[in-house]
Symmetry: C2
Subunit: 151 residues, 2 copies
C-alpha cells in the first residue's frame, strides 16, 4: 500500500514539538498556513511564559493574526501535532480556520473527537474541515518520551 | 425579599465591559481576584489587537498569570460578565481558577451551562466552583445595547 508522506507544515509542527520538549515544555507544535506559506507558528510555552493559555495552537493563531493584521484567519489552515483541547478548538473556531490537520488523537484532553466535541455543538458558529492522523506516530512518540522522562 | 448587592469585582467587570463597548469591542469584562485583591483584569480586545483569542477572560487570566509569575492561578477567582465560551472555559480549567462567577447566561455561545459544557466532561481535570447570575441584568443590557446599535 502506498504510504503518503507527512505534509511539510506537519513536519514543521513536529520540529516545533521537538523544540518544545528541549525547552521543558509539553511537546506540541502548531503551524498556520495561508496560500502555501507559513504565517504563524509556535509550540507550547505555558511554563516559559507563565501563561496557561500558551498552547501551541493559541501561540500560532495569535502570531498569524498579528502578522496578517486580522482577527479572522479566513483561508488559513492549522497543522498541530495533537488533537486540540476545548480552549484551542474554541480558538480555532473563533479564528475561522478553514482546515484543521492534527497528528495524534488525545482521548484524555482532546475536544474534537472526544469530550466536549466543540465543533459538533449546535452553537459552534464556524467548523473547520478536520483531518487527523498525519504524523501521528512521531507526534505520539514525542509525548510518550517526554512524560516517560518525567515519571 | 432582600436583594444582594453586586460584589465589587463584578462591578469592576461591568465597568470594563462598558469600556469595551466604548472601544467598539463586544462588551464583556473580566477580573481575576486573589485574597480580595485584583491581580488581573481585562475586556474583549479581539478587534483592537487583531487577536481572536483576546476575550475578556483570556486577557484577565494572562494578565494575572504574568503578574503572579505562575501559569497556575491556584486560589484565584474569576468574575466575568458573560457565561464563558468553550475557549475561555478551557482556559479557566487550565489556569486552575477556584471559583467562577459570571453574570449573563449565554445560550448562543456559552459552554458552562450550554453546548460543550466543558466542566462537565469526564476529561476536565480541574472544575471551578460556578456561581451565575451576579449582575446579569446589567451585563445583558450592555450586550443588547451594543448589538442593537450595530443592526
Amino acid at each position: 500500500m502506498a504510504k503518503w508522506s507527512t505534509p511539510e507544515p506537519m513536519k514543521r509542527a513536529l520540529q516545533l514539538a521537538q523544540e518544545a520538549a528541549s525547552a521543558g515544555e509539553v511537546p506540541v507544535g502548531a503551524v498556520v498556513v495561508k496560500d502555501g506559506k507559513v504565517v504563524g507558528e509556535g509550540h507550547n510555552l505555558t511554563r516559559t511564559h507563565h501563561d496557561p493559555t500558551a498552547h501551541a495552537e493559541i501561540v500560532a493563531i495569535r502570531a498569524a493574526a498579528a502578522a496578517l493584521g486580522d482577527e479572522r484567519l479566513t483561508g488559513c489552515d492549522l497543522y498541530v501535532t495533537l488533537e486540540p483541547c476545548p480552549m484551542c478548538a474554541g480558538a480555532i473556531s473563533h479564528a475561522r480556520i478553514g482546515r484543521l490537520y492534527y497528528g495524534a488523537s488525545d482521548p484524555k484532553g482532546g475536544a474534537v473527537e472526544h469530550g466536549a466535541r466543540v465543533f459538533q455543538q449546535v452553537q459552534c458558529l464556524h467548523r473547520p474541515e478536520v483531518y487527523s492522523g498525519l504524523g501521528e506516530g512521531e507526534a505520539a512518540e514525542l509525548l510518550r518520551g517526554f512524560f516517560a522522562e518525567r515519571r
